[in-house]
Amino acid sequence: MSTVAQTAAPPREHYLNIEYGIKSWLLTTDHKRIGLLYLMAITFFFFIGGAFATVIRLELITPAGDLLTSDTYNKMFTMHGIMMVFFFLIPSVPAVLGNFLVPLMIGAKDLAFPKINLLSWYLLMAGGMITLYSVIAGGVDTGWTFYTPFSTTFSNTHVIGAAVGILVAGFSSIFTGLNFIVTIHRMRAPGMTWFRLPLFLWSNYAASIIMVLGTPVVAITIVLVALERAFHIGIFNPALGGDPVLFQHMFWFYSHPAVYIMVLPAMGVTSELISTFSRKTVFGYKFVAFASVAIAVFGFLVWAHHMFVAGISVYAAMIFSILSYLVAIPSAVKVFNWTATLYKGSISYRTPMLYAFGFIGLFTIGGLTGLFLACLGVDVHVTDTYFIVAHFHYIMVGGTVMAYLGGLHYWWPKMTGRMYPEGWAKLSALIIFLGFNLTFFPQFVVGYLGMPRRYHAYPPEFQVLNVMSSAGASILAVGYVLPMIYFVWSLRYGERAGSNPWGATGLEWQTTSPPPTHNFHETPVVEQEPYDYEALPEVEFVA
């Protein structure tokens, strides 16, 4: 069972070779092609954001601010945050993998609104370009959180440019979420009931709810910041009676749930990977499915845990603290269920599974350290320190990026018809895991020691931990560049993949690799429960 056993002959006509030329890509309404457009766009944004991170870690090797001026450093971490959050993490799993897979997994020909889907991509690109323009024109130094009154009254950088860029990208996110929800409701193949949906779809559905309901609030908040900056109405300016804490409420109403936009689809990927490489259905399917929806709903009730020292009332702080603990429960349920799925499975250690293990481990640490921040007494000390930085990087990089890379390896044969090189892929997964922990674990320690975040220079006793962090970051960078190279290499030299190289269940594996433009030659009819490996015909597969 170790070689490619299925007939590796590629389909004669598929979505990649049906048309050629720039125009056939830039005007496409095929969800699979749009998924690839997103892949290219966010890879570009990821490496830009990564370049900013590199500069930050270089600066922090020494306690003194000797590499950059303070202003430049502040712009670097601002742009790192904006690029990574709005232009990489939020679109990562949903816009690339979700776009490619949502119609395939439910047996549809396309998303419900193909033209709006293409529009979403253009909006992300437009937003990204406007934001990049504001970088080139001089940069932004407010932090990705745009806290007022610094962003509205005191900063003299290109705040409006970046704000408009984010606003435009926000609409991209809204339309993607809207498209997914309608598609999942209205476009399912015959027999594809809600409880036969792959868990990847449940989690994308939950994330879409957040995109649709949360993003508009940050949109209006950004509009108010821009209005305030342009006309000095006073809405967030305390000198004119405005309340900067209200800005934080409105900002976090979206930006906390936004964390779940990033991590929910990643959880969905993990469910798929764990199931496939254990050859078992996910333990407690319905609990995992409902946990996604529960996270999406509870996620909206906890935002002010970002504001426990910011000047909210003691009583509101308690309400938000207890609600924050509630959102931890469905996350814990998921982790326990993934672990239980392994029990009596038939586990193979292919690269995607390594990433899934990485996700569970790092997400566990990231999630559990979240309890420290929901805990009022401890949050007072650790908020706004490197403890926070470590925590959210464990969730977003350790969680989301791990799952995103795992998913990319897993569905790469479906997307391109070629396998990635397994040896190199395992090596880079290992490098990423080690580099990541070396980068971010010391930050928990330096955070509890009291090093505030967004510090250009720091007291010398924090240096050892910062040097460890920077060393880890350079290892991590190697880990991220490697896949970039071998994925491109595999497009030409990779082994040909059959339609179902992993022997997985799921409709996407029942069509050719790469799939035809309309996904299926005839509309599939679903008669099996999800992840039913017992019913899968005994075929040989590479995994």
């Binding site: 309901l213 909206f300 002010a304 309400i319």
Partner: protein
């Protein structure tokens, strides 16, 4: 779906007249001093008008279940935003 159950122009006309009447009422009430009840009355009337427009003009009453759920969810989320934000502002001056 709405295409099967066509609401006639007569119903629309009745609703339109009702909406105008409610507008007149709310303006009239605004000039009568009812103390704290003034804003309550104005907002209650606005709520009624919203329901009339949504149920009849927007045909929510003939919509699919999922549309009704979606509309309720939208209003519920708005309520979350308002209620939890006010949970801060209304308790800020309570003694610690």
């Amino acid at each position: 779906m709405s295409s099967e159950t066509v609401t006639g122009p007569r119903t629309f006309a009745v609703i339109f007249v009702a909406l105008l009447a409610l507008t007149g009422t709310t303006v009239w009430v605004a000039f009568v001093n009812l103390g704290w009840f003034n804003p309550v009355a104005a907002l209650a009337i606005a709520c009624a008008k919203m329901l009339l427009v949504a149920l009849f003009f927007m045909e929510v009453r003939h919509s699919s279940r999922i549309t009704k759920i979606a509309v309720s969810a939208g209003l519920f989320w708005l309520l979350i935003l308002l209620a939890l934000t006010l949970s801060d502002y209304l308790t800020r001056w309570w003694p610690a």
